[in-house]
């Protein structure tokens, strides 16, 4: 029963993601990979799509996976699944559990979670970088020069923008720029120098 599975799995994601946005990447990734709902590269490509479309990443992924696995009904069920835990928890806190978050055990729990989530976010970024430049597993590593060059150029732009101009980078602009750089670098390597991409 795919609809029930989608509902339960995305509810689980909704319960265990603290901190929003990038913090849910590791949990969503392991869920979609375990069920073969997405390949790893498709997952990362889709994060790129999420960065350039509005709305929370977690909701976007729920809608997408729901749709590819169970059509329109699947996407509705999965999206409801990811929203429902938040909705119920916030309603409880807003109505009857006003002092729940001030409880010292809850505070202790949250203070332990914050650094862990931060570690998971950084590790998601670093792992994605390693996979991009060609790391597959402990025995296979075909370095991807195209990826490495793109990474270098983009990192330079980001550092100049942040520390040189002291401005906040607009995410959508950065993604569009990176798409152009990706096309430029790959096309130049393939058609300019006759190198293979990968």
């Amino acid at each position: 029963m795919i609809y029930l599975l989608l509902l339960l799995e995305f509810m689980k994601i909704g319960v265990f993601t603290f901190g929003g946005g990038y913090a849910m990447i590791p949990i969503v990734k392991e869920t979609v990979l375990t069920h073969n709902w997405m390949s790893e590269s498709e997952f990362y490509d889709f994060i790129g799509v999420c960065e350039s479309t509005p709305g929370p990443i977690a909701v976007n992924i729920a809608t997408y996976v729901g749709s590819t696995q169970g059509g329109i009904l699947g996407s509705i069920v999965a999206t409801i699944g990811i929203i429902l835990p938040s909705f119920i928890i916030i309603l409880l806190i807003a109505s009857i559990l006003k002092h729940f978050l001030k409880n010292k055990y809850v505070q202790g729990f949250l203070s332990g979670i914050k650094p862990v989530v931060l570690g998971l976010i950084l590790s998601a970024g670093i792992t994605l970088f390693l996979k991009n430049i060609g790391y597959e597993n402990s025995t296979t590593f075909h370095i991807s020069y195209a990826s490495l060059i793109c990474f270098g150029i983009l990192l330079l732009i980001m550092i100049i923008w942040r520390y040189g101009f002291k401005k906040k980078m607009n995410t959508v602009v950065f993604i569009l720029l990176s798409a152009a750089i990706g096309i430029g670098v790959c096309a130049l390597m393939k058609y300019g120098f006759g190198l293979s991409i990968q």
């Binding site: 993601t17 498709e42 990443i57 929203i83 332990g112 650094p115 862990v116 590790s123 990474f151």
Partner: protein, 201 residues
Amino acid sequence: MRTLLVLFLAFLKLGAFTFGGGYAMIPEIKATVVEKYHWLTDDEILEVIAIAESTPGPMAINMATFVGYKIKGFFGSLVATLSVSLPSFIIIFVISLFLQQFLALEYVTYAFVGINAAVAILIIFAGLDMIKKMKKTLLPVTLMILTLGLSILFDVLDIPFSAIYYILIGGFIGILLSLYRYHVTKKNKAILLEGLLEEEN
């Protein structure tokens, strides 16, 4: 009824025009809820943000549910939550119908070589920004470094270890520490009190 309609339209707009998820939505939601419609005060919106950050689930959903509830009770929260999710639901559903064919195009795969590098950079810088704001005492720093090191190691070696376990272990250590702190302050207070009583005698 009119308030619900205005709420619906306001959160529909928030859902349609905020890119980059929860944190990007904070200034927009403040401008709409506090400055434009005067539904909540500055203090109330700060409370909403603090609670949305420390409860599970997407921040945008948490904020919408909470703000909706404060404005118009249960139906307010239902309307705000549905309307903030609706734009991305429609956009992603349409994208899902053709994304795989789209990703197979040669120049699109080239574009994604760049986009994937950009996503890695965005994630790492978001993490670095959060480190700046983090409390830099022994326990959080140790927990952060341990999680970072172990999760990269396990990922690289293909050892399955769910992210949920890291979160539960972190939370458990946090509870133990708060118990320990509570115990220590109680003990210190007792010692202090004993000293005071002795002095009096």
